[in-house]
């Protein structure tokens, strides 16, 4: 088809790698999976890696003096190297495998936060953060007496940069910000935020869960101090994610979880922690999930993150255009050029849960609710929204299905 030649990538070909995307539901409705901001699907290559590892290479890592443990350890450490290259980290041991973005942010809040933040200090967030980048800081405030502050957004869903200079003060110890909002899709100017934060002596943590899977990431040029993201939002298994941190910071931080692996020596009266990265990987890590995440990185790299980003912005632009033409649909967030592949919206006088239920009849899977961002929804003056979120395997035709399904929902609710 003519349209395929103009696209940065070929979704029809790539879709064939994803067994679940050929699902037909409700009798004759092809699955239209538009809930990728919640979690993505897995290509055959990742699924095969999981099976292959369990069938041929699995033992605990860094422990056994035996052939199988060496195999497992090599694959696990190879996955760490793949992550390092993928995000442009200077050192492999700066890559800490966690349980996910939430685990990574909690690690920083507990370990760095408890050691470095006190009463009167401030942690600056933005109004568009996911609960996973809010609650750990509220918990830190409960423990230490620090204050949690929020940078405002404008009515278009863009961060109000001019307010930052007043909000970042000599009390600010850390600015924690999403690189891409999981609701608005807004791409935040992280490098600029880093510049201002560092000028005031504050560190920056980036919740990159919605950007690392969708656009090139280079932590060196980003300039941030901590970067957190999840495997399951980038074709990998759930239960694994990454905290990248600057070596000097990670070295100075006390361990978070205590247990096996994270120690050099244990005595009756205490312990000495291990070096990085083991210091922050207590217990048996998500071995096979991390190896699977490595395969996901291979897959994404082969496509090219630049092309994925360009293609998703095309899908976003198409969704904006068609949803606006539909009428009675209010799109949240800024214009498509400021967005990743996330389009949230409300439909006049149809609640988001009813929208989701009606779209499901057409095989369309979207998210409805507050998307773990209640403060943002309060700022927007709504309690819930519907969210369509794309990945490279979504097609322009699937957006047509989404819009047709919405048209049918409006008709059923007598809103046309």
């Amino acid at each position: 088809m003519a349209v395929a030649q103009t696209l940065p990538l070929d979704p029809a070909r790539l879709r064939k790698d994803f067994p679940i995307l050929s699902t037909v539901l409700h009798g004759d409705k092809p699955l239209v999976y538009l809930d990728n901001a919640a979690t993505t699907q897995r290509p055959r290559a990742v699924i095969d890696t999981l099976v292959d590892t369990y069938e041929k290479h699995y033992a605990n890592v860094h422990r056994g003096i035996h052939w199988l443990s060496d195999q497992s350890t090599d694959l696990y450490e190879e996955a760490r190297e793949k992550v390092r290259r993928f995000i442009g980290a200077p050192q492999r041991h700066e890559v800490i495998f966690t349980t996910g973005t939430t685990g990574a942010i909690n690690m920083v809040a507990r370990s760095w936060g408890d050691a470095n933040v006190g009463p009167g200090d401030e942690i600056l967030l933005t109004l568009m953060e996911h609960h996973s980048n809010i609650v750990p800081w509220h918990q830190l405030a409960e423990r230490t007496g620090c204050r949690v502050c929020f940078a405002p957004i404008d009515d278009d869903g863009l961060l109000q940069l001019d307010a930052l200079d007043e909000l970042i003060t000599d009390k600010t110890r850390l600015v924690a910000v999403a690189s891409v909002s999981n609701v608005l899709g807004t791409i935040n100017p992280v490098a600029e935020i880093v510049r201002r934060a560092h000028a005031a002596g504050a560190l920056v943590l980036v919740d990159a869960a919605q950007s690392v899977p969708h656009e090139p990431t280079d932590v060196a040029s980003l300039g941030a101090d901590f970067v957190a993201f999840s495997g399951h939002k980038m074709l990998g298994p759930s239960g694994v994610g990454v905290l990248w941190g600057r070596e000097a910071l990670l070295d100075a931080m006390p361990p978070f979880l205590g247990g096996g692996s994270m120690i050099r020596r244990v005595r009756l009266d205490g312990f000495e922690p291990a070096d990085l990265p083991a210091k922050f990987e207590a217990g048996t890590p998500p071995i096979v999930s991390a190896i699977g995440m490595g395969t996901a990185i291979d897959y994404l790299t082969a496509i090219g993150l630049d092309r994925i980003h360009a293609y998703e912005q095309m899908l976003t632009a198409r969704a904006h255009e068609q949803l606006e033409a539909l009428g009675g649909v209010h799109i949240l967030g800024p214009a498509p050029e400021h967005k990743g592949g996330i389009v949230s919206f409300t439909v006049e006088r149809i609640h988001a849960h009813d929208v989701a239920q009606l779209l499901d009849r057409h095989g369309v899977a979207i998210r409805a609710g507050h998307h773990c961002a209640m403060p943002l929804h309060k700022r927007l003056g709504i309690t819930a929204s519907s969210r369509a979120s794309f990945y490279f395997y979504n097609t322009p035709e699937e957006i047509d299905v989404l819009v047709e399904a919405l048209r049918a929902a409006k008709r059923l609710f007598r809103r046309d």
Binding site: R349, H351, H353, D354, Q357, R361, A384, L412, F413, R414
Partner: protein, 166 residues
């Protein structure tokens, strides 16, 4: 074109209740009130009742925010319970509520439908302090012992909903 079971959720008379609800607003001279939400989805319903000295529901009003199922079912319930005695109300079961709604609901959507029913069952135990609202001189009876805990949670809930609507 659409599967029939789902279609039933949004029957015409249900949409009528959603678009043009019965007694949506404040109950004049309310004697009892309660509010609650479904934590999972955030649906909120507040019910205000005016119960006469003989223990009969004179008026039933609701306010709320949420999906069609939660709001339309609340409207149906208000219409249904006006005129019932407290004893009759007590015997109006969850199964009766699902029957009143009519359409077949999945377990998740049943929670939406039962929200207003739960709130009504609590409201009859939740007399408003100092009697009726809107300056009504008649506070009405307290058919059951006052429960400060319930009244308080109703007040907290009101505050929460008001905030979420800013």
């Amino acid at each position: 074109m659409d599967s029939r079971d789902e279609e039933e959720i949004y029957q015409e008379h249900i949409l009528d209740h959603y678009d043009d609800p019965f007694h949506r607003g404040h109950c004049p001279g309310a004697t009892h009130a309660h509010e609650d939400d479904n934590p999972l989805c955030g649906d909120v319903v507040r019910v205000e009742l005016r119960i006469d000295p003989q223990g009969r529901v004179e008026q039933a009003w609701f306010e709320g925010d949420g999906c069609c199922v939660s709001q339309a079912s609340a409207s149906m319930l208000m219409e249904k319970i006006e005129g019932l005695t407290l004893d009759e109300l007590k015997h109006f079961s969850a199964a009766d509520m699902l029957g009143l709604y009519g359409a077949r609901l999945t377990p998740n959507r049943q929670k939406c439908c039962l929200l207003s029913w739960r709130v009504v069952q609590e409201a009859v135990h939740s007399p408003i302090a100092n009697g009726g609202a809107d300056g009504s001189p008649d506070a009405g009876p307290s058919p059951n012992r006052s429960s400060d805990g319930n009244s308080k949670s109703a007040d907290d809930g009101t505050q929460r909903r008001a905030d979420s609507r800013k």
